[in-house]
Subunit: 239 residues, 2 copies
């Protein structure tokens, strides 16, 4: 399998600029062969402004950016893409727009069959997995399904957050929410804290970045993984 | 319109027990005429344990509790109910179960036409509104629609949370999430902080409890309301 993915937890890390914390990994991921990256801004309302932000950042790394919404035919734009980057925002809006524009299966095909590198950040990482059922976002629009592009056989919780021991707020913690998900299904959930990301190359998966990830497996104790950890087993596990 | 609703933000307030913070309002709301309350535990996985918790609490207030899942025919149970209480948990699971059990329209009819008192807490408050699009919960299951029971013509965000100025977490604040919702539609959103609740009697709505509520209207500045405020205008506003 030619699959190459860079699945980033968060677009902006506290105290730094847009994509600053993962710029080295981005440059290494898209490498020298890719010149133009197809950017999917569907997760935010203002697609032009969002594309401009991405374009400015990628320019500093040596890449041109095309907004998929600028193309006459978005499916054709995916067919021609050298690299794909789906940005963060609202996951429900993003998934609905991907289906509305009929690009879900074409992105899957291009990434899994043709080896086009796929980068996702936050919501763009959610939609790369089995489903958006472990997003943190508000369900502001109704997508035709929660099923997503399915580039990996598990789910991710981006912006994973540890409970605040001083909080007096009684809403569920992130861990409690993921436990509720596991009352319904047995799909593995990888909690990516802000600052870390998952690199997938074929059947090899590696945790990169500066923070740990937490793996939730139904009926088992959570496991913490340090940056540099080999998480390839997640790609072969049917869960 | 006979409608009587008690829409509570949260089931448990920090430092107190289950429904302790609103027990006076509950007793006043159901009053002396109601003897038995139909409890809907669909938002949690263990319906028996949840019903036991509600039953024990309501017993101290002088009410018997019947779990809707214990009835042979849930629609018939709604038809016979003297009072209804839908508890909190996961809003997606709750809404899906309400549709799976075909009780949505029957609850609407009983409350709006027959004047059966309806109490909701957290997710049970979300499903009383136009839609669950302003829930905080994780979309662990896929309901047939986000449209809800529609007992009031606006949406509520329960457990409303002010931004933490010391947070280094870069996920969206609650206000940012509701602003994203208003990029899609113009339905009013009432943010109920933990500790407050909305009492609706016919066309009169009053904020009760110990904390303020924050009203989000598309394109306008947010407005804060103190406990005791008359919010009846929300019931006539088409938004």
């Amino acid at each position: 399998m030619k699959r190459r993915l860079l699945l980033v937890s968060n677009s902006t890390l506290h105290g730094s600029g847009y994509l600053d914390h993962c710029q080295q990994q981005i440059a290494q991921f898209f490498g020298k062969d890719v010149k133009r990256v197809l950017f999917v801004p569907y997760a935010l309302h203002d697609r032009d402004a969002y594309t401009k932000t991405a374009r400015n950042k990628f320019k500093t790394l040596g890449y041109e950016v095309d907004g998929i919404h600028e193309a006459a035919d978005p499916v054709e734009a995916v067919r021609k893409a050298e690299g794909i980057f789906i940005g963060g925002g609202n996951t429900f809006r993003l998934l609905k727009s991907l289906y509305d524009n009929k690009v879900v299966s074409e992105i899957r095909k291009r990434v899994l069959e043709d080896g086009v590198p796929y980068m996702g950040s936050s919501a763009g990482t959610n939609v790369a997995t089995i489903s958006i059922s472990t997003t943190n976002d508000m369900p502001i629009v109704y997508p035709p399904t929660f099923g997503a592009i399915g580039l990996v056989p598990f789910n991710i919780n981006p912006h994973y957050l540890d409970p605040d021991p001083n909080s007096r707020h009684m809403g569920e913690t992130r861990e409690q929410r993921i436990t509720q998900y596991h009352e319904e299904t047995d799909t593995n959930v990888l909690g990516l804290r802000e600052g870390c990301m998952l690199l997938v190359e074929g059947n090899k998966a590696t945790l990169l970045g500066s923070t740990k990830a937490r793996l939730f497996t139904r009926g088992k104790t959570c496991v913490e993984y340090d940056p540099g950890s080999d998480l390839s087993f997640l790609l072969t596990d049917a869960h």
